[in-house]
């Protein structure tokens, strides 16, 4: 069973979102997503300063098995990306909710946070898939 954290929010495309409480959110992919992908070997992320809209694809995760788009779950400006992933993409597998985070966004519309799934809803979605 994959690890789903209660303190995080989710979207159906398997990204997790952590509200940092300062108008920014941190985004990564879930344990379920990394498990489906298998060993991650490259992560391509948006540049800092990029304006993104919810639903955009903002990068690519490549595992040994497949390439998968990274979707932006919320609109705003990319203010930080996890540069460690360039050297150590395996962090996405070993610590998807910690050191394997992808990027941080300064939200343009905080109300979008209400559209996200909570842990229970995301858990149900994963079960329905498997």
């Amino acid at each position: 069973m994959s690890d789903i954290r209660n303190e995080l929010k989710y979207v159906a495309s398997h990204e997790w979102i952590r509200d940092e409480g300062d108008g920014t959110v941190t985004i990564g992919i879930t344990d379920h997503a990394q498990d489906l992908l298998g060993d991650v070997v490259f992560v391509e992320l948006p540049d800092v300063g990029t304006d993104v809209a919810a639903g955009d694809d903002a990068g690519v995760v490549e595992s040994v098995k497949a390439a998968s788009d990274v979707y932006v779950p919320l609109s705003g400006e990319v203010v930080e990306v996890n540069e460690q992933l360039e050297e150590s993409p395996e962090l996405v597998n070993s610590d998807p909710y910690g050191d394997g985070w992808f990027f941080r966004i300064k939200l343009s519309d905080v109300a979008e946070l209400d559209d996200l799934l909570d842990a229970d809803a995301y858990g149900e979605l994963c079960e329905g898939e498997s």
């Binding site: 498990d35 298998g38 060993d39 070997v41 490549e62 040994v64 390439a67």
Partner: protein, 367 residues
């Protein structure tokens, strides 16, 4: 309903992630396929390959039959136990399957027989085809579904296997040359594999495999899944049936030219006439290796563009854990030189064109 090998419960207990592969529930990995890959390159790993189809070929005409059935020539097998890699072609000279054939007896002795190992996904069509070709010959084909098969690969593989077997089997292993196998008290132990490392493939009665697998694990041999098997074989420049070749292509455009035994000219093998015609007309494509220096991973079916020459296609691509970059096998126009471009999701990325393999015995081998 999928098939399960005799080791299925042990795979689950070892944490395997299981996938359907050609109708079989097989381990994809036991955690990280890259770690499994590296184990095989650096120490040793073991694979359950019991899903593969074993067919014994017996009867007075066994050799004559195989000399017609296969593009490679079993007459090249001069010593008991020696193995040969070959394509099995249809009349059009296209690849029905690739396989390994072992000579199980010395040439010409009475009771001469061979053992053939074919792919699992092609089992039914292979068996049907093989049965059709026996017409008018004294040949019997016997599938051996009750036999299990394990591949132990890596620089320490042979030592590890010997450490869990009795002395007589150890001596038998010491006596094996590369690409040779021998029977031992109901087992068949062969120095073959699909990884580019030294190692063994061992065929064992189903009811003895669990104990052997557990003993290997206790001796420190890492279980490896199909994921690592694929990256290892691709680094070793070995074809995968269904990806790199199938019934739509000939061995001449699949990097399998070396497996066609043209001599003696008098040997009529299935597909020979078509291959000769293809050669006479000029073979249009060739199989090459691609290496990409930039970030990203080459994948099967991506288009290869060779400026001024034409286009080709990647047949299998992956990330090479040993080289830390992406590699691929591709079918390209014969005139392709040292460089090409690959269309990766709409972006043209430069690659170098090399001669496979990419890795042998843990080391980079292309220039």
């Amino acid at each position: 309903m999928t098939n399960k090998t005799a080791l299925y419960d042990q795979h689950l207990a070892m944490g395997a992630k299981v996938v359907d592969f050609g109708g079989w529930d097989m381990p994809l990995n036991y955690g990280s396929q890259i770690e499994e890959h590296n184990k095989v390159r650096q120490t040793s790993g073991m694979f359950d390959v019991s899903h593969m189809t074993i067919v014994d070929v017996t009867g007075a005409d066994a050799a004559e039959y195989l000399r017609y059935l296969l593009a490679n020539d079993v007459a090249r097998l001069k010593v008991k136990g020696k193995a040969l890699y070959s394509g099995m072609l249809n009349e059009d000279g296209k690849v029905i399957d690739d396989l390994i054939v072992y000579r199980m007896t010395d040439p010409g002795v009475s009771g001469e027989w061979f053992r053939v190992v074919v792919n699992c996904a092609t089992r039914e069509k292979d068996l049907r085809w093989m049965a059709e070709q026996t017409a008018r010959l004294d040949v019997a084909l016997t599938e051996q579904p009750e036999l299990s098969m394990v591949a132990i690969q890596g620089p320490e593989a042979i030592e590890k296997v010997k450490s869990v077997l009795n002395e007589s089997r150890g001596r038998l292993i010491d006596g094996l040359s590369i690409f040779q196998g021998q029977e031992s008290e109901g087992w068949f132990i062969a120095r073959t594999g699909y990884s580019g490392e030294d190692g063994l493939e061992i065929i064992v009665p189903e009811d003895e495999i669990s104990e052997f697998w557990a003993a290997l694990a206790d001796a420190g041999v890492s279980p490896c899944g199909l994921g690592a098997r694929d990256t290892l074989r691709l680094e070793a420049g070995m074809n995968l049936y269904g990806a790199d070749m199938d019934e739509t292509v000939s061995p001449l455009v699949s990097g399998m030219g070396w497996t066609i035994a043209w001599e003696p000219e008098s040997r009529h093998f299935c597909g020979r006439a078509a291959l000769e015609a293809e050669k006479a007309a000029g073979v249009a494509q060739k199989m090459v290796g691609l290496v990409m220096q930039s970030r990203g991973v080459l994948r099967g079916h991506q288009k290869v563009i060779v400026e001024g020459v034409g286009e080709g296609e990647i047949t299998s691509g992956t990330f090479s854990p040993t080289l830390n970059l992406s590699i691929a096998l591709a079918r390209v126009p014969v005139g392709t030189g040292d460089h090409a471009m690959v269309d990766i999701r709409g972006k043209l990325v430069p690659v170098s064109v090399v001669r496979p393999p990419f890795v042998r015995h843990g080391k980079k081998v292309f220039s």
